[in-house]
């Protein structure tokens, strides 16, 4: 699928965010019987497990399950059906929409050259079973999932944050987390290094990239016209009354006047 073509001339003049609330078109869900390999696989899965839904999307099989059977199903997929690599594992925040997280496992079968995605939904306060015994690569992914979304994972061998510091407050990849950080995040380094009482001394972060202190003539030039460095903000600007208009901008090179060293070179 290609993105629709839009004319690009004068694109700078247009408002940047005209498309802000654009909703991506749904990718069609095809029936599993379209693909022989997938159809055979889903037969075997259905014989053993209770799955909620299965369909093919963009040539990949998507299986939606109940979160409690995730480990058993992945064991089965790995050992019986040959999906022997866990490519990716993470979650999507649907808390605002449905009050749930969607956890997904993206698998690859090297022998069949097929990909399969297992999805399940859990509530905010629910924990999910670790798939670390099935795929070792799940170790760090599950820690990252906890770090970024706050999803607890049961029976993980070393369950702690992976990217953010251990004493971090909040889960940054949740949709409700502000981009510039909550209060704990904004003062994190000050609180940790100097202590809370230093907040007043250091002051808040300057997050506005265009911020200029108009009255500070030490570090910024005054808008419109220059005052000498360090002069009071409301003092008179420096006036340049006259300059020599006849003075040449570039002096022409004069062979006779100039001394040339090492002429032979």
């Amino acid at each position: 699928m290609m993105r629709p073509y839009r004319p690009k001339d004068n694109v700078q003049k247009k408002a940047y965010y005209t498309d802000r609330f654009w909703i991506a078109p749904r990718i069609p869900e095809e029936d599993v019987s379209q693909d022989k390999v997938y159809a055979a696989d889903i037969e075997k899965i259905k014989a053993k497990f209770d799955i909620k839904k299965a369909y093919i999307q963009r040539g990949q099989l998507v299986v939606i399950i109940d979160p409690v059977i995730n480990k058993e199903l992945l064991f089965f997929l790995r050992d019986e059906l040959g999906y022997d690599m866990l490519m990716e594992l993470s979650a999507i925040d649907y808390l605002a929409q449905d009050g749930e997280f969607e956890v997904f496992y993206q698998l690859l079968s090297l022998s069949k050259r097929k990909r399969l995605r297992v999805k399940c939904r859990i509530k905010e306060d629910e924990a999910i079973e670790s798939v670390n015994p099935v795929f070792r690569s799940a170790d760090w992914s599950e820690r990252e999932m906890y770090d970024m979304f706050g999803i607890k994972v049961n029976n993980h061998p070393y369950f702690k944050r992976i990217l953010m510091p251990d004493d971090w407050v909040g889960y940054p990849l949740r949709k409700t987390y502000p981009l510039h950080g909550d209060e704990a995040a904004q003062w994190y380094e000050i609180d940790k290094i100097f202590g809370k009482e230093y907040r007043e001394i250091v002051g808040p972060e300057i997050r506005d990239a265009a911020w200029i202190d108009k009255t500070d003539t030490e570090q910024f030039a005054r808008y419109g016209h220059e005052v000498p460095k360090g002069a009071p903000y409301d003092s008179e600007p420096v006036k340049i009354d006259s300059f020599n208009e006849d003075a040449p901008l570039v002096e022409t090179f004069d062979l006779k006047k100039s001394k040339i060293v090492d002429r032979d070179r």
Partner: protein, 169 residues
């Protein structure tokens, strides 16, 4: 009358040079600025390039050291994350006086393009900075110029300075 009359005052009279303590100490300090190897992000590539043979930092006396105990100047080259902030303060406190800090690149100066929850908005929130070096990333020439400006600054300083307050995390 001595056969070889020596004019002591003229240059080349005798190998004697007159100077002040400030001048000779600062001459030594400014010309052997050992830098702490402190690459944090992409700016570190430019810092490494400055250290390598084409730009050759050694001729300024800037030799990169792997230990803060042996370093005089900390070149903060790159993005300082909040997780790392305590370590930069610790390394800074471990450097022996006198010490200087060059903040290299937009990220170290102001947080740069990383206007996010995880980036410290300027290293000067955590450690005192002597020289801010603009650019993303600054070219090696810029870093060389910054070091030369720092040398200029050091030559103007008195050798008796107040110790900067320490605070170990």
């Amino acid at each position: 009358m001595a056969q070889h009359q020596v004019n002591y005052a003229a240059s080349g009279g005798l190998p004697v040079a007159l100077t002040t303590v400030d001048k000779i100490v600062n001459w030594g300090r400014s010309n052997s600025l050992w830098a702490l190897t402190y690459g944090l992000a992409c700016c570190a590539i430019e810092m490494m390039a400055s250290g390598a043979s084409r730009y050759d930092f050694d001729r300024f006396g800037v030799i990169f050291r792997a230990s803060p105990r042996q370093a005089d100047v900390m070149i903060v080259a790159g993005t300082l994350t909040k997780k790392h902030a305590e370590f930069i303060r610790r390394l800074y406190d471990q450097m022996a006086e006198p010490k200087w800090v060059i903040s290299m690149g937009s990220c170290a100066n102001t947080g740069g393009m990383f206007n996010t929850y995880a980036t410290v908005q300027g290293v000067d929130r955590v450690i005192p900075v002597d020289l801010y070096l603009p650019g993303c990333a600054p070219r090696p020439e810029t870093l060389q110029y910054a070091v030369m400006l720092l040398q200029k600054k050091i030559r103007k300083q008195s050798i008796f300075q107040k110790q900067k307050p320490k605070r170990l995390v």
